[in-house]
Symmetry: D2
């Protein structure tokens, strides 16, 4: 019944309208004694922040988080952690006299609730994801405390026509591609798109490594189900596949199951098997750019800034199930 909450034990509740007073998040279920690592928190906010490069929206958000509760002398108390971020630079007049925005949630939302905050999409704005990365940062701190080497890495695999077929890994770039050449190509495309009121969707690839076996709960809280629910809750996402996904449908079973290529994506019977968890997420093209291009504070492709949102959702799922697994056995 909690529309704005995510998670079972590690649970976050997101609040705030994009042009209201503040965005915020309430994080419950973090055990007492966890050291707060503000570097992780700031890095997550930084990666999501608009305006870090030419190809993302120039909306200026300082995004300074304020921890209101749940932390004392740098450590969590086992009580709810509330964190808020002031909204500023709102220019709500940008939106006021615009005609209906194509592809936007405004209309369905308005139809559902009768009364809504039209400024910048209100709560349906992508700004809501700032709450997620804050919670994701705390989830990451918790996971690292339990599993020293666990890693979550999301990267761009495809952006409009540009695709990274090899996914060799490497340092993340501005566009999220791990390949420098593709990054340059993509930068060019996005700058052009920004000028011309165009936009692109794409595919993100995510890998979780050094994760323990046994995470996920049968039968409705399978790891694949939890991950799907997590990433499909992100605004522009319209597809999810784990391991081989749709591609698996091309293979005959005796071949498919004999492979040793991570075809299951690290999840069998809904439970992690100890191998890397891998999945892919598809994004439809940004809609905002089409409407307010000239006044422009929107992203021609949302993926570069969405990667950290994906990672945040994944960290939350992992933190949640690491805690949940404490309840599996008698001792």
């Amino acid at each position: 019944m909690s529309a704005n909450s995510f998670g079972h034990i590690f649970k976050m509740t997101s609040f705030g309208e994009s042009h209201g007073d503040s965005m915020g998040v309430l994080i419950e279920g973090v055990p007492s004694g966890l050291e707060v690592n503000s570097e992780i928190l700031n890095q997550f906010l930084e990666r999501r922040r608009p305006g870090q490069s030419e190809v993302v929206t120039s909306r200026n958000e300082a995004d300074l988080p304020k921890i209101l509760s749940g932390v004392f002398e740098g450590k969590t108390l086992g009580t709810p952690i509330a964190v808020t971020i002031k909204n500023k630079d709102q220019k709500s007049e940008d939106y006021k006299n615009l005609p209906e925005r194509k592809g936007h949630a405004d209309k369905v939302w308005k139809n559902k609730f009768n009364h809504n905050d039209p400024r910048g999409g209100g709560r349906s704005s992508g700004r809501e994801t700032v709450s997620r990365v804050i919670a994701g940062a705390f989830a990451k701190m918790l996971c690292l405390e339990i599993l020293k080497n666990i890693k979550v890495e999301a990267m761009t695999q495809k952006m409009g026509p540009i695709e990274d077929i090899e996914l060799m890994g490497g340092l993340p770039t501005q566009t999220g591609f791990s390949d420098n050449d593709l990054n340059e190509e993509a930068m060019e495309m996005l700058l052009e798109a920004k000028a011309g009121g165009k936009s692109y969707g794409g595919v993100a690839f995510c890998r979780v490594s050094s994760v323990s076996a046994g995470l996920g709960q049968p039968v409705f809280k399978k790891m694949k189900s939890e991950l799907a629910s997590a990433v499909m809750s992100i605004g522009a996402v319209n597809g999810f596949e784990i391991g081989d996904g749709f591609e698996a449908t091309d293979k005959e079973g005796s071949v498919y199951h004999s492979e040793n290529t991570g075809q299951y994506g690290g999840v069998q019977g809904g439970i992690t098997n100890g191998e890397d968890i891998t999945f892919r997420v598809s994004f439809k093209p940004t809609s905002s750019v089409l409407n307010v291009a000239k006044q422009g504070r929107h992203d021609p492709c949302i993926i570069p800034r969405a990667l950290v949102v994906i990672e945040s959702m994944v960290w939350m799922v992992l933190a949640d199930h690491l805690l949940w697994s404490r309840l599996d056995n008698l001792k």
Copy 2:
């Protein structure tokens, strides 16, 4: 925290091991006064039942449901509805001395819980889905009471190499294809597969029509997120996409958003917009067939029997959100 429950208001909890005494389901949240339509219930069980055709497992399950509570004089009481189905024809010796089954959940499950029921996969068996179709049938009854014309139709779009590109609709066939020629082709392939210990995955397509706008709850219980979570909880499913899904990533935004082709899959901002909801689900190839082919009581492709499971999950999501929407407004 309810691993075996699905739904928020309309809520089902599934129980039972495949070779234990019974399978069953507890359905909560159905308002009082709903007439129980046993035709819908039987039809759902029939469509899922093994042994209806040559190309599905011959395991013989009578699957006679017994309603233990929650119904009086043919109508629901507003109290929990418990329904059970006896397990029979179990031949657990089939499984006892088999080597580890490739691609099966047995090992991860065992590793997680230490103690498990190894007979036929126990609770990780596909037999668990019988609980889902029972709950799905009740959900369908409820939805039809609220929205007279609402329809949910899942069909086979792809089975191994065979693909239905046009999806014209039509009466469902044994293989789930709506096209008769493709059905015959698929029948032949599956018979051969059954004989040769082969198996296939595929893709199911699902359409919800005559659904009302305004269903789904922001921001974590978006309709797309709920549907993904629902179908990804089905055993062999490894991918989900709504509307254009992964294909959307090939289109430039100004083109994409100008189309009028159901590209959003009936969901915008996470909320139904009144158009048909459409989504696709991918299945990996069945693993059971590889191990016990000769003793064979397994399906060379699970999709024909899984279609009604998909529909059941969707009916539950719809029933849940139809009830939830009663809480949206002040009056």
Copy 3:
């Protein structure tokens, strides 16, 4: 949102109408590997069973529990445990032509749901508590596994005019008094009441000993709040007090807090402090006896049979919070 569920991690859902097919319970959250102790289960059912003595209803319930799922080779699987009990000896005609039953829930229930099962109160019948003692038995097994010496003992402290002022403990009697003389006195009173269509309320006292400190969760799942919620859900209960309760209001604070008499009832700040938990529960007089006395299958005082129901609810709260406390700390 689960009207028929109790508990957060150790969670039971009760189902069944008193004159329907079966009563039952679904128990979730029991870790895998717990040995099922049928002696505990049978003893709990026996203590609740009607007809064990002259002073309780003669309704004949065999109450043979059937475990449908969740247990394999005598040990729990970590999956939902479903247990059912057939209803028999229902004589529903007893109730059919009776005028409205004074003090009964029938009318409010009917008004709420429009459609209800009028036979024997349907789901509002005290028969529902059979589900609770089954779940309570499993909770007791779990608690004993974790805390070897923990004990829960409920006894009659007051029955109509008869009161046990000293509460010395001792073997429980038919009337629940731990004092033999009071038991004889009470037996006499109840036999007379049964013959004369009279009934009595009373007070039960409950003590939990050898319990660990640190159970309960601030701020809304305090141990005292959880216990109150648990016992106030029992049909005839209309009062609850922990430790000194209402009596504490007669003492000045510096006196009250200097005592060492268990005045806090083992709970401070909502958390167990390691001392015995003690509380008292008041019951209003049985209403059934007034209406169907002559046809009589009702108890002139419900407390003797309710003691095990209280204990069951307490075991569930304890099991739940023992599991929950696993999540308090980082390690």
Copy 4:
């Protein structure tokens, strides 16, 4: 699993440590379109505020609430409503070098979580109830919108040795007694207590009038169970009885059930019957006063300020069940 949340549909989550940055509350489940009545909000905060009279703690809390989200142009949006209040005037040195505080939760809490905020009790402080009255005010607004004439009135029935036997009603006084003479008597007693480091417990009486029948949900969310859980979560409360409560145990059943004196407290079978809901709550004597009397910022009796906290919890239960009852029937 939400230790800091209360309610099912109308749900509040409380956060904040008494000497941390802020106290706050997140309110979910309020439908869109409710007008925010700041008079109700301010009145509730005013009634709870320390320092309004000589006999309550002089701790100076401005308690200006700030609405961060969920409200636009004076009306609720159907999104989470976050409200915070800055902590000030904290004088944490008052507490730092004090010996262990008798009767306080500090020790059990510390033992449970290892790491805690010792300043003023941290989260176990009575200051936490400020979050409750904010949520209670919103609940009241919602209830009044649905049931124009509904009223919730809590008053002092007993304070130490002073007792109001007649409970005639009347305007609330500083001490919460509705009788002026008793109020004067109590004022005198409390001034003396404050000077002498004494404290008193007592009993509050609460009446809900003009409430609709049919509220409450069988079998574990009965109205009496919900109310008990609600008020027992308040710090110093150690007893609850509905209607006649413990007194009912003195009456023979045929007499008891023939009365027409509100003996059931407006609840039968767990469901409201349309009559006034009445219940009583016992408080143990304040413990703080004993320890820091001279430095004094504590109440010699907590009841005067606790009455609005009780009312707040009741409004929340009512709002929750008014919404829940929308789900009872088919239409």
